[in-house]
Symmetry: C2
Subunit: 270 residues, 2 copies
């Protein structure tokens, strides 16, 4: 059994290495959390819906156009629904169903890390929703794998990239929007670090424009990845498999919430 100190060292080392990883572990890392379900395919429609046939038809989209839609949609439906609509509004036109029947505007509640609670950034949640709706859930079989991995890659990229990366063509705020790296997929941490560095309050026009640009940045990367998946060239970059590596679901910034000592989860059934 690992001691707390051994676990802490391993966590620190892992944190150090996280930017360098290139191996494609994909969905495999979550197996400590939940076993795969061999009966899923045949049972899929036991209580499932008629839209649960994957992949949904997808045509490649222009990342810049998608980012522009996301930026403007943020000012109507905020981060999560903006990312979903940036992709789905185009696919409703180019493809039709099942995109026409997906109620994206109901996902306004993803704002502020879910109804203002500061949990997962709505842009990350929106991207995961899009990739898993189009490609399917990981337990849907090998063809559905990249619904999960595109979503997980997004959280890794979001955590380790100075955001926002995308500058809209006609920004509502003309002043410069500084970039900050969140080291976390959470709204509270991402917005908090940006507010701390920029000095702007939550209700400011600058903070709102920053979040609109983050939604645009995420939507841009999402379509780059979906286009690669369509071309069968998508390769996951994230090596983040906390269930397997650490024995607990987790983000990457252990010491940020556990500054004195990173607690070790139990390692063997008692």
């Amino acid at each position: 059994m690992k001691t707390d100190r051994q676990f802490e060292l391993e966590c620190s080392r892992r944190h150090f290495l996280k930017g360098a990883g290139t191996a494609a572990l994909g969905a495999a890392g979550i197996t400590a959390l939940a076993t795969s379900i061999p009966g899923f395919i045949k049972d899929a429609n036991a209580v499932g819906a008629s839209m649960e046939k994957w992949p949904w038809p997808y045509v490649k989209l222009d990342p810049d156009k998608t980012a522009e839609i996301a930026y403007n949609e943020w000012y109507r439906v905020f981060c999560g629904a903006a990312v979903i609509n940036a992709v789905f509004s185009q696919l409703r036109e180019k493809v039709g169903e099942p995109y026409k029947s997906f109620p994206a505007d109901s996902f306004v509640f993803l704002e502020g890390g879910m109804a203002g609670w500061g949990t997962v950034c709505g842009s990350n949640a929106g991207a995961n929703i899009v990739s898993n709706l189009i490609i399917g859930p990981r337990i849907g079989g090998p063809d559905c794998e990249h619904g999960h991995t595109i979503g997980s890659d997004m959280m890794d990229w979001y955590s380790n990239t100075p955001l926002p990366t995308y500058t809209p063509k006609e920004p509502k705020q003309k002043t410069a929007i500084i970039q900050t790296k969140s080291e976390s997929p959470l709204c509270h941490v991402s917005v908090g670090k940006w507010m701390d560095k920029s000095g702007f309050v939550l209700g400011s026009a600058e903070r709102k424009d920053r979040c609109a640009r983050v939604a645009a940045s995420v939507a841009h990367k999402l379509v780059v990845d979906l286009n690669a998946w369509k071309d069968a060239t998508f390769k996951p970059k994230s090596t983040w498999t906390p269930g397997k590596t650490f024995g607990i679901t987790a983000q990457q910034n252990c010491a940020e919430c556990h500054p004195a000592k990173v607690p070790a989860p139990p390692t063997a059934r008692k």
Copy 2:
């Protein structure tokens, strides 16, 4: 401008008071985060989908039956999709559309706090999805208000209740499952505190059954609240409005991640 110390004291006091609140602030508290959009109603279908007419038809469901479905669905599609399917599988039968067209199984990725990252517990996310799909998003107008408040109330209840509260009729694990209070809507914190107290590892059958029972507990409360909303008797209990109160999106356990000093967000535009 508040000093860090003043902010910390206010946060501690607020944390102390959180269990006692009964005022119904509902969706109002998020106004610091995002202004309401008067044009939303008329613009709703600018890029919106055909299912975006709220509320969706709802018939009252049996909370115990719903919890049983969620418990068993957890073993097929895990927490988030289990909560969605617990409600929607019944409404597909009793109502039909638009429930038949909603692809709930795609939401497997909510597992482990979104693809194993330990962010918001999938049961909370699933409950928010259900309430906001049925009742509508908060910016859809006064009739849609409780989509948001039922979801936010769920995260408050989840954070402040020893979970799981529901014991299935035929539990897969016959041993007792201890209850723990997470003080957080996050998977990492909720599962971590349970693992710490119980001594069971993430991959254990006991941990899995605990999470299946948490999904069942959440599904039970969700239907109690939806039934009350249908009867026009639902009253929000949560007073958690961090954007308004603290100037940042946040959960309730400030000192848990900021043990030395709770940082104060900027309070005025520079």
